[in-house]
Symmetry: C2
Subunit: 200 residues, 2 copies
DNA sequence: AAAGCACTTGACCACTCGGTCAACAATGAT
DNA sequence: ATCATTGTTGACCGAGTGGTCAAGTGCTTT
């Protein structure tokens, strides 16, 4: 019922893109509306505030990307191969963005999260939530690897270490604006996984 | 000659503090001036722009903190102990900030850098420079450790890995607003250092 | 056909943004 | 005592900021 519209979807998509490769603070509601070809009045018909838009945009983006993660971390795939695929996936995604925009964009959740963590609690919490969801994939891969006797890491802390390594390298790559940094990701992850194997 | 003033120093210090525990975008020139008890006219007497202020504030902050890093990474101290001290130093600094402001602030260079990396080239470059200077301490510790036969990591890539781990955990801790995350730093660093030791 | 709803429009708001400026005040050197 | 130099003051600027709103428009249901 009522008048159909794709304005909301366009706003969410444009907002995510702009915020990811610029920043929350430097992207105004007007910019978002212009790029989405939507009037500001319509913006505030759909979203109570810029901050709510950001939260929803990131949630929607997650839901769109989830199938890909499900595929990468499918139980059909040997657990350590999942991690390998994940590293390659990160690299490809960053490469694609960097080619398109001319600079390394880093992790969208981390970029937004760290920018406003101390300012906007709703966004901070959403950012944390999305990172935690990501973490769960890594953790389950480690748990499966452990069950198969491939590694002896504690899956929980190991996943945190692996995920932090990815975050750190993405951050480093963004600030150095250098994709090559990310070539370190896969070997670093494999060393974390393998380190305890030797110690076991 | 001329009229003496500490306005510039106050602006630099206030700017660094505000930007670190809020963000570049959310801290206005007016805020900085208010807190420093300096008029905006004076601000623009000393700095051509907000962005230049930020660059200089971060450089000055580095110079102030450098002696502490020199002490931690003193050649007098066994190389692996330097890394241990460094981890503890990071923890203490974050604890102190978190106690003072009620939230984990993360790495100041990384926070500013990742926020404006794709927007402001001068700040991005300064952020990179400061990170690189930090990295050099870690690298030299690793080199000394290698010389003493304590590890067999490649100092360059090992330092990058260690530094990225620190960045990642700081980021993770900031977004989760949880200091405990940083307890992982020292063991993670020691595992990176030790991993290759076993493989050697 | 009509009513009800969902969406659109664009003008408008008070305020803040980074930045400017010309007049003025305090200092140290001569 | 003078004077260049340096720093201060605060009003001011135009362009944006996030956000509001009343009137209008086009669907779908009845």
């Amino acid at each position: 019922m009522g008048r159909p519209s794709d304005a909301k979807e366009k706003l969410l998509q444009v907002a995510f893109d702009l915020i990811w490769n610029q920043s929350y603070g430097s992207v105004s509601v007007d910019h978002i509306c212009d790029r989405a070809h939507v009037n500001k009045g319509s913006f505030y018909h759909f979203f109570p505030s810029k901050s709510d838009l950001a939260v929803e945009a990131y949630e929607v983006h997650w839901r769109e990307k989830q199938p890909e993660l499900d595929r990468i971390f499918s139980p059909q795939i040997p657990p350590l191969e999942r991690l390998e695929l994940w590293c390659k996936h990160i690299w490809e995604r960053q490469k694609q963005k960097a080619d398109k925009y001319g600079h390394v964009c880093g992790c969208p959740y981390a970029s937004l999260g760290t920018e406003v963590a101390t300012q906007d609690e709703k966004i901070r919490a959403k950012s944390q939530e999305l990172m935690d969801r990501n973490l769960r994939y890594v953790e389950s891969a480690l748990r499966d690897a452990q069950r198969e006797g491939l590694v002896s890491i504690d899956p929980h802390s190991g996943a945190k270490r692996i995920y932090s390594t990815a975050l750190g390298l993405l951050l480093y790559a963004k600030i150095h604006n250098d994709l090559k940094v990310l070539e370190e990701l896969e070997p670093a992850v494999m060393d974390i996984v393998g380190a305890r194997e030797l110690a076991a």
